[in-house]
């Protein structure tokens, strides 16, 4: 999947696939173009899976936007709390899944496109965002009201800035890995989003069907972690083989 053009050029030079036991620990910096391409099958494997919730799904409360009528007016019907979204068969959305061990010391080229966080209808879109260390984060405000974007980063530098409705985008870059850093708007207390910042491209966020997929992972042994803002973190060890697809599932429950 996400190997770098530079790496591929190198591969082409040697005319052969990188061996899984290749001593190369660094994939090298990306060329200026930095385009990300999916590695061809035969070199890498992938991980697929689902996040599930066990037990009775908590009720999704109505989001009370009473304190700001301007926000309330943006919704035809009541918005619902996004922190726990469970499907009919227990599929759990908004779980951040990433390779937490096994990629140490390797470097991966950065995507040139920035990660994007928007504020729409006084909610954050997306509710959980994954991005890379060093990648630019662009924060937009599509609402007609002023928000403030307040990160509660523990490892990275925290920031707190106000943003006028329809005003200029804010930009941030994080220089350390930090999974699920809370970013919220203090003016509208219900607005909360979580950003997972990782040093490599192997992460995903579960969709409404609870599914995720992390392709293009070089063969090897890894620890795969999944974190939900309410239900905490789960880990599992996986072994990726060439062309292999590892299937895994995370099951969360209320403490």
């Amino acid at each position: 999947m996400k190997l770098v053009l530079g790496t591929l050029t190198l591969c082409a030079f040697f005319g052969s696939a990188l061996s899984p036991t290749s001593p190369t620990t660094s994939f090298g910096p990306a060329p200026a173009s930095g385009a990300l391409v999916t590695a061809s099958p035969g070199e890498v494997g992938s991980v697929k899976g689902k996040a599930l919730f066990q037990g009775e799904a908590p009720r999704r409360r109505k989001v009370d936007m009473g304190s700001d009528p301007a926000c309330h007016a943006l919704h035809a019907e009541d918005a619902r709390d996004e922190s726990v979204i469970v499907g009919e068969k227990g599929e759990l959305a908004n779980v951040f899944v990433w390779v937490s061990k096994g990629l140490e010391g390797k470097e991966f080229a950065l995507p040139t496109t920035p990660a994007e966080l928007d504020q729409k209808g006084c909610t954050y879109v997306p509710h959980v965002l994954g991005m890379r260390v060093g990648q630019k984060l662009v924060i937009k405000n599509a609402d007609p009201v002023t928000h403030n974007v307040h990160s509660f980063a523990k490892k990275n530098k925290a920031f707190n800035q106000s943003q006028q409705g329809g005003g200029k985008s804010l930009e941030q870059v994080f220089d350390k890995e930090e999974v699920l850093m809370q970013v919220k708007c203090d003016i509208h207390g219900w607005m909360s989003t979580y950003v997972g910042v990782v040093a490599h491209p192997y992460f995903a966020v579960t969709k409404a069907d609870g599914a995720f997929e992390i392709p293009g992972l070089a063969p090897g042994e890894y620890t795969l972690s999944a974190k939900h803002e309410v239900f905490g973190t789960q880990k599992t060890a996986i072994t990726v083989k060439v062309d292999g697809v590892v299937e895994t599932a995370f099951t969360f429950a209320e403490e």
Binding site: S67, S162, S192
Partner: protein, 284 residues
């Protein structure tokens, strides 16, 4: 050392009317402004009557002193303006007249004792007693939790008991006031973001709590203002006397969203309040 004739001092009498005019204008405009521009928002609480009475009392008394002071200043500026014709000012050592000075010093002391201290004690006290005395036993009790930058309004629910809450349970989206699910009294509690409904004509006792920094609970029409201090359970009380919707504002600087910290207080009949409460989603 000889006394030099002044090179800079003589200045025309022409300044006297100018300055006198300025002071008259100041007096008239300031007083007129207080009279006409400085209207308080329409009163909507019971104890506010005494507060307004105290303000009116101060209006009148300080107004008289203000006009009197400016009047004398103006007169003196006109009367004692130096002129070429009057060769020397009237002579007389001030210390010969020190009795006069003491007498004049007594005047403001007495006036201020009567006007100011009297005002504080006689006119002001009743309002203070209503604000800080015992709450009427049948008061409608609500809790307000201030946080950057929201008013979270917490009702005890049908059981009339506020559930336990704890800082570490606070979650902005799911449990903003940190109610403890395990406390049975908390189950039926109701909380809203900035929506408070109060019955008209019944004492309201507001419990005040802050989660992060100082805030201040202010409704100008009710003439109430009370700080919320993190770590302390404060309170304020008042009796709304007019139905309608009022804005709840924050008066203590609390951060960049201070100016947006708005809540709404709807004053309506007891039945309407009960009806509204029954429509709200319970905490758990």
């Amino acid at each position: 050392m000889t006394v030099h004739p002044s090179s800079a001092a003589p200045a025309g009498r022409g300044s006297a009317p100018l300055l006198a005019g300025l002071f008259v204008a100041t007096a008239v405009l300031v007083a007129y402004g207080f009279w006409s521009l400085g209207g308080l928002p329409e009163l909507a609480s019971r104890h506010g009557v005494s507060i307004d009475a105290t303000i009116t009392y101060l209006f009148v008394t300080t107004g008289i002193l203000f006009l009197l002071g400016h009047g004398v200043l103006t007169l003196f500026v006109l009367r004692y303006a130096g002129s070429a014709e009057r060769a020397a000012p009237e002579r007389g050592s001030p210390h010969a007249s020190s009795k006069l000075e003491w007498r004049w010093a007594l005047v403001p002391v007495l006036v201020m004792c009567v006007i100011a201290e009297g005002g504080v004690l006689i006119v002001g006290m009743p309002a203070f007693a209503q604000l800080y005395g015992e709450a009427p036993p049948d008061s409608f009790v609500v809790e307000v939790v201030g946080k950057q930058f929201e008013w979270l309004v917490h009702y005890p629910g049908p059981d009339g008991v506020f559930g336990r809450s704890e800082a570490k349970l606070v979650n902005d989206a799911r449990n903003p006031i940190g109610l403890d699910k395990k406390d049975p009294a908390a189950k039926d509690d109701i909380y809203t973001r900035g929506q408070m409904h109060l019955p008209v004509g019944r004492g309201a006792l507001i419990r005040l709590r802050a989660l992060d920094v100082l805030h201040s609970f202010t409704v100008p029409q009710f003439r109430v203002k009370q700080d919320l201090i993190p770590g302390f359970l404060g309170r304020t009380q008042f009796e709304p006397t007019r139905t309608g919707q009022y804005e709840l504002a924050c008066a203590e600087l609390c951060g960049l969203g201070h100016y947006r910290m708005r809540g709404f207080i709807t004053v309506e009949s007891q039945e309407e309040v009960d009806q509204w409460l029954s429509e709200q989603e319970p905490a758990f």
